[in-house]
Point group: C2
Chain length 378, copies 2
Amino acid sequence: MKFEIMRDHLLAGLNDVMKAVSSKTTVPILTGIKIDVSNEGVSLTGSDQDITIQTFIPAEENGEQIMTITTTGSIVLQARMFNEIVRKLPTNDVEIEVTNGFATYIRSGKSEFHLIGQDAVEYPQLPEISADQQFTIPADLLKSIIRETVFAVATSESRPVLTGVNWHIQEDELICVATDSHRLARRKTKLEQLPTGVSNVVIPGKSLNELNKILEDSTNPVQIVMTNQQVLFKANNMLFFSRLLEGNYPDTSRLIPENYQTNVILDGKSLLQAIDRASLLAREDRNNVVRFETLEENMIEVSSNSPEIGKVQEQIQVESLEGETLKISFSAKYMMEALKAIDGQDVIIQFTGAMRPFILRSVHDDAILQLILPVRTY
Amino acid sequence: MKFEIMRDHLLAGLNDVMKAVSSKTTVPILTGIKIDVSNEGVSLTGSDQDITIQTFIPAEENGEQIMTITTTGSIVLQARMFNEIVRKLPTNDVEIEVTNGFATYIRSGKSEFHLIGQDAVEYPQLPEISADQQFTIPADLLKSIIRETVFAVATSESRPVLTGVNWHIQEDELICVATDSHRLARRKTKLEQLPTGVSNVVIPGKSLNELNKILEDSTNPVQIVMTNQQVLFKANNMLFFSRLLEGNYPDTSRLIPENYQTNVILDGKSLLQAIDRASLLAREDRNNVVRFETLEENMIEVSSNSPEIGKVQEQIQVESLEGETLKISFSAKYMMEALKAIDGQDVIIQFTGAMRPFILRSVHDDAILQLILPVRTY
């Protein structure tokens, strides 16, 4: 195996696959990155068993020659070391050569590194996934869907299935739901193309967070294939595999109230900032609970109280306030994350009394629904 | 006490004094910031006993009215909380009022915070330092002097005096020396104005690092007053006090060799990058040692070897190479820090054999001298 490649292309590819490599793995070869050189280009693979990322760097792209391949072959190199070496090489021309089995030379300018590689045959195979059951979502929309739901997954492992986001295809919609049993985030997305086969999976929150980091904010299509054990996201020379969580995801539709007693429409950003301020004092008591109270004349009040330190109160003018008066307490963190997911638009909050879950939506559409359970303090 | 102030001015002042406040203090009132309101303006004081920072925000600056003072007075407010509250207030107008003893109200827009303050009388007094023994250094030069020496202080407390930088006025020069007994950094600076009185102090490295962060990169003068217990830096509405380290600083002048056997002149930046690359492999063995070898024809070689992982070697063309051939090993970290202090200029390195300390200087001037003890591997 011997090839010369432009350093910045190699670095960009490494940057993606490094996201899958964990230093804490129990499988020694997974501390490495697999490099496969064919006549078409170089593919790099990194994995921590849960997530596997493969990027392909083509020999030529848009008429530009990115590499010169002398002989093909495969090797596994220690990931962190290889990445740091490439990052610090003195020139943009990098020559990589494997001789005598696994002895690897990395040359650039007058600098020569010699690394002891590992046999690529030892590296785990990628899962085989047939592409006939795929559907497509633009990358930027996929990133939004992830951001609007993944924060609500459970961080505790007491019910492992809740640490993932449930992706469920029903009729012509993809419904994504996350809940930690204190709050819930739901995002519905119309699909233009419907897959057959597996229609209900639970994707680990950690995998979705990594996918969100790696995806470009573009309208380029991402192909998605769901199987019983794995989900595969395919974008622009990149394959992202994640294992799925086992177990049945709970039916959350019955949690969402159908009748409401108090409806408030207000500017989400103003409320977010007021809650942020109120939470400064709430945080000190560890429970992070703020109070929300309807007043006369389209005003509400947000307040918080810490006996040791002090208190804060703030009134906010709302666009509309209908129904019964209300005093309710909730987690500032949950409310802030829900408001960030709806992203500063005009928000409607619908309450069913101080003891019942309440929901937040944009007034403009129904795609995103956030539900929060109140805390009993009144 | 009651005044209204523009939030951005209050924040800038808080930002400075917060650098002196530690959450780990054993003196409860030092978790607070002291606010003193006079008719001339507001002064803020923060301290962790080692460092005390006081900033003064004048009521009026360059014809701009920064605050309106209704009544004067003093209060101590919990530092982290007060800082976060001011940071998150909704408008640029902040009203602060103390009523009924220590009950403090912070109002901005429709937001009102109520904090329980502490009696300012409980806050430690600033040390009294007479200003008749001061000398002056421009802020940007003072920052350079700190950066070029402070990295070489000892991190271990086994000889506490070595955790500071020795500032010594001799004839018309300020000589700053730091050493951890494996390497040494020395910076000489001509003074235009000479103080009488105390001429030899040891300033804790931590204090100098904080001072460097807080000083602006400008040519504005900083006045420096050295006493037996404290050093005071005065700049533009800011007072920075540091305690001094006790004990005699060792005489380091005899460590510096007087005769050299090998002299190399080269580009400091190229060497820095080559050492950085070589240290990638050296680091794995924990000792971080790289080798340096003179070759024929104005070439040197930097190399490193880690039996488990591999090796690296790199040749560098130098500007001049005189004297005996040399193979020497040293800490990559020390060499990189020394080269960064000399800052990429043409560097002369002077060796007295593989077992003796060697020195680095700029070829252009003698102000900065860096000394490194080699590691015995050959």
